[in-house]
């Protein structure tokens, strides 16, 4: 349909006006819906939509970089049911504990390769046959001495998003356990805490690092206490938060036991008992109390 006045075509300008009006109307409706609905965008005060989106993008990128590090750990192969974080979580426990829902902690190299897991039969498919020969069908673990190969991705992951706590955790594990450089791991975790001051996990990891690797109980206690304070500030703690709190009590209790402080040990045991009475960590604390009573 043309609107020809004085030989000029007015179709396009009219269409543009219609498009502009439609866009404005849509914007007004959206704004109204957002204002009057209960649903709120997950924004922090002062955050714009752009910040929100870019933060998410950075987080996604950072997570991808950690996946890459995990791939490197497995010889460039994507592996299901296992990632570098599992290894990071394994390292810290001289003790045994059982967290019913914490699958990550039950790492026993039972993971499978991407194509191993659901590897279909080749049958008469020549393409599949070729792919099996071209692409690696197994995986291996990077030797500790070569774990320096993982660092660029871990470094890039935390540079991309300093809020990627798992990246700090994995990085500190690589530095302290695989490359035997706990001092560097301490610096790295401190950097993580600076960027994530509310993180109980990082504070806890730093405490563990001092406690188990550097054997500096004083520093460790400071960080365990700080982790406990942060944990107690969580308004509605979930199961993982409570489990983390239990671990803090366990470490504090262990320190009290080693210093022969039965009063403190009992106090931490009682708190642990309230959280998880049957957990092996609680039971271990109970055992220490019994030993102290028995005067061992």
């Amino acid at each position: 349909m043309n609107f020809a006045i004085n030989n000029r075509d007015y179709t396009l300008p009219r269409l543009r006006i219609l498009q502009t009006l439609t866009a404005l109307l849509t914007a007004v409706i959206l704004q109204t819906l957002l204002t009057f609905s209960d649903c709120e965008l997950p924004q922090r005060e002062g955050d714009s939509m752009l910040t929100l989106v870019s933060q998410d993008t950075r987080m996604v990128l950072s997570a991808e970089m950690m996946k890459k590090a995990d791939e490197y750990f497995h010889g460039g192969v994507k592996v299901h049911n296992c990632d570098l974080n599992d290894h990071a979580h394994d390292h810290d426990h001289d003790h045994e504990h059982d967290h019913e829902k914490d699958h990550k902690h039950a790492h026993a190299h039972n993971h499978s390769h991407d194509s191993e897991q659901s590897r279909p039969e080749v049958g008469r498919d020549p393409f599949r046959w070729i792919n099996r020969h071209i692409h690696v069908q197994e995986h291996r673990h990077l030797q500790a001495a070569r774990s320096v190969e993982l660092l660029p991705w871990v470094y890039a992951a935390t540079k991309t998003s300093p809020h990627n706590i798992m990246a700090y955790e994995s990085g500190s594990y690589i530095l302290s356990d695989m490359l035997n450089n706990p001092r560097l791991a301490v610096e790295y975790l401190k950097d993580g805490i600076a960027h994530n001051p509310a993180s109980v996990q990082l504070e806890m990891s730093l405490g563990e690092l001092y406690y188990n690797k550097i054997k500096d109980a004083g520093q460790a206690l400071t960080h365990f206490q700080s982790a406990l304070n942060k944990s107690l500030q969580i308004d509605e703690p979930d199961e993982d938060d409570l489990f983390m709190r239990l671990r803090i009590f366990f470490y504090l209790g262990n320190n009290a036991w080693q210093n022969g402080d039965a009063i403190r040990l009992r106090s931490f045991y009682q708190k642990a008992f309230e959280l998880w009475p049957k957990n092996p960590m609680t039971l271990a604390m109970e055992q220490w109390l019994d030993e102290m009573k028995a005067g061992k």
């Binding site: 490197y72 010889g75 460039g76 192969v77 194509s115 659901s118 279909p120 498919d125 393409f127 599949r128 070729i130 792919n131 020969h133 071209i134 692409h135 690696v136 320096v148 190969e149 660092l151 660029p152 991705w153 871990v154 470094y155 890039a156 530095l175 490359l179 560097l184 790295y188």
Partner: protein, 260 residues
């Protein structure tokens, strides 16, 4: 030298001259240097000696740039001939349209391979200097299969250029090349999760689309896995040759039907 050999020779030479005089390669090398330089000297956490990430990034750039150069050369040949009307003096010579298609294909492929040789040379030098490893069987196989990949991309780009505009052709070819690289091997599994129509469509794509993932030995090369058998290599190259021939056959038909 026979007439056809002479015609191929000049068509190949012209394509090579085009690539080197248009300075695309220079731009790509500068871009590559700018992107790789910070990586080459990076020492995360003060540790030097991380090589895999650098090898992977360098090889990724070799892949990107070689695909970019190949698509650039192959997709603009015929559109340029038609836009600038050079097709008329070309076809006015005693040369068949089939010869023109084959000559243009070989020209684009030669130009792309010559660029690939330079890219791999740069890759070998960069990685060799860092790791003091200059040669491996997987490296040779990776190069050979990469040539196979370029054969397929050149054929698709050239054929597409007789049907589509340059930008549409480049976009579609890139989608096909990288889409198949990422999902090619998983298409049957994806198909089995679809409804009947989706299943049929994905199985057709699996049969017809170029399996660019066959040519990807980056994982073996970068992470130091053993070489594949040369028999498999030969099968993949035969696939590349067959796929390219099929594309060129279509291109020949299209050029014959093209209105001049």
């Amino acid at each position: 030298m026979s007439l056809i050999a002479r015609q191929m020779n000049v068509l190949i030479r012209a394509s090579l001259l085009e690539l080197y005089r248009r300075k695309d390669l220079v731009v790509v090398f500068i871009l590559g240097a700018v992107l790789l330089m910070p990586l080459a000297f990076a020492t995360p956490f003060g540790f030097s000696g991380a090589h895999i990430y650098f090898n992977e990034m360098a090889l990724l750039m070799v892949w990107f740039f070689s695909v970019f150069i190949t698509l650039g050369v192959s997709t603009r040949m015929f559109p340029y001939e038609f836009e600038k009307r050079t097709i008329y003096p070309l076809l006015a010579k005693p040369v068949s349209r089939g010869t023109v298609v084959l000559g243009r294909y070989l020209g684009a492929l030669s130009a792309s391979i010559s660029a690939l040789v330079l890219f791999y040379a740069a890759y070998i030098i960069l990685c060799g200097v860092r790791q003091h490893v200059w040669f491996s069987e997987v490296l040779v196989q990776a190069f050979v299969l990469h040539v196979g990949l370029l054969m397929v991309i050149t054929a698709i780009g050239l054929t597409g250029s007789l049907l589509l505009t340059i930008s549409a052709n480049v976009t579609i070819t890139l989608l096909i090349v990288f889409g198949m690289l990422l999902f090619g091997a998983k298409l049957p599994e994806l198909a089995d999760q679809q409804s009947l129509a989706g299943k049929i469509a994905l199985y057709i794509a699996y049969a017809v689309a170029p399996h660019t993932e066959f040519f990807d030995l980056r994982q073996r090369l970068v992470h130091g896995w053993p070489a594949i058998s040369w028999g498999v290599c030969a099968v993949v190259m035969a696939y590349a040759a067959a796929y390219s021939t099929a594309c060129l056959f279509v291109a020949d038909l299209l050029l014959r039907r093209k209105k001049l």
